[in-house]
């Protein structure tokens, strides 16, 4: 168990958190896990690391698009001559909806930058052995 616990003679702690003996990974698993790790960390995006500038720019662009969309909606709503079924306004509404979708994509991509390494592979235990 813990050298620290022995050195500080806190055997009561040793008893209270006594746990099973350490084990090695099952045969072949360490090699497999190392192979997976090496594949993961030598993938181009992992070697290059995250590009903080690109991620930051993408996030700023997302917020800017959000701001533009809010201004557009505000301007549109403030116009007295709006008619619900006016084709121009339908087109305007579609444009705003498209901008919203773009914002969502940008925001999702920016958030995903830091997570894609984890998400791009399924759980190792769910994959068949090679």
């Amino acid at each position: 168990m813990s050298l620290f616990i022995e050195e500080h003679e806190v055997s009561d702690v040793l008893d209270m958190v006594r746990s099973p003996a350490e084990r090695d990974l099952p045969p072949g698993r360490l090699t497999k896990r190392k192979r997976m790790l090496m594949a993961e960390i030598t993938a181009p995006q992992a070697v290059a690391g995250l590009d903080p500038l690109r991620a930051r720019l993408r996030r700023i662009a997302g917020w800017f698009a959000c701001l533009v969309a809010v201004v557009l909606v505000g301007l549109g709503a403030s116009r007295a001559e709006i008619r619900p079924f006016d084709a121009d306004h339908v087109a305007q509404a579609l444009t705003v909806a498209g901008a919203g979708a773009l914002i969502a994509v940008h925001a999702g991509a920016a958030r995903g930058d830091g997570l894609q390494l984890d998400r791009k592979r399924p759980s190792a235990s769910a994959r068949p052995a090679r």
């Binding site: 050195e7 209270m16 958190v17 099952p26 984890d118």
Partner: protein
């Protein structure tokens, strides 16, 4: 104690890894995988989950390799890795609730354990560990962390402070509180401390 891997100290290996040398990181994986695996088991009571968590710890460590904190004495990296492991385990615990619902929808045949040897021993370990965690997890999270690092990770005060990123005095006080709270919990649960594992058997 300075650990030497492939003729180089851990610090030298890690510096190579920071420079992008995946092989150096692979050597460090070989050195610490077992310790991280067993530490993760002690926090999860599940060998398969511990294996997944161990892999995740090293992927996260690779991504954050430039932020490593070595111990001052022997320039070891294990305490920092254990700190990464604790964060990974905490995140996995948060995600477990969502994952449980998703797994429940899977075909049970795909959820079989993927090891075939010493199954009895491993299942017995898991049962025993679950009983220990049943009491352990009633401690405050901060007390759990420091106790796990010192009792299961084998770290001293200074190493635990590196792993947790808190002053040594904080480690001492948290460990002291953890001991007394743990003793109260054990006394309340009616178990007796003896030579045999306290929580063995149902």
């Amino acid at each position: 104690m300075t650990v030497v891997v492939e003729g180089q100290t851990e610090v030298e290996q890690w510096r190579r890894a920071v420079g992008g040398d995946a092989q150096a990181f692979g050597d460090l994986f070989d050195l610490h995988a077992k310790a991280i695996y067993n530490f993760c088991f002690r926090r999860t009571a599940n060998w398969a989950e511990a294996e997944d968590a161990m892999s995740e710890v090293f992927v996260v460590a690779w991504k954050r390799r430039a932020q490593v904190a070595f111990t001052s004495d022997g320039e070891r990296v294990l305490p920092w890795l254990l700190g990464v492991a604790m964060n990974v385990l905490r995140n996995r615990q948060r995600a477990r609730r969502r994952a449980t619902a998703a797994l429940a929808r899977l075909n049970p045949r795909h959820m079989e354990a993927d090891f075939t040897d010493d199954v009895d021993g491993r299942l017995s370990d898991e049962r025993e560990m679950r009983e220990v965690l049943g009491v352990f997890e009633r401690l405050a999270p901060q007390e759990q962390d420091v106790l796990a690092l010192c009792a299961w990770g084998g770290l001293g005060y200074e190493d635990a402070s590196v792993a947790l990123g808190v002053p040594i005095g904080t480690v001492r006080s948290r460990l002291s509180r953890a001991r007394s709270h743990l003793r109260e919990l054990v006394d309340d649960s009616g178990h007796e401390r003896r030579d045999e594992p306290v929580y063995r058997g149902a």
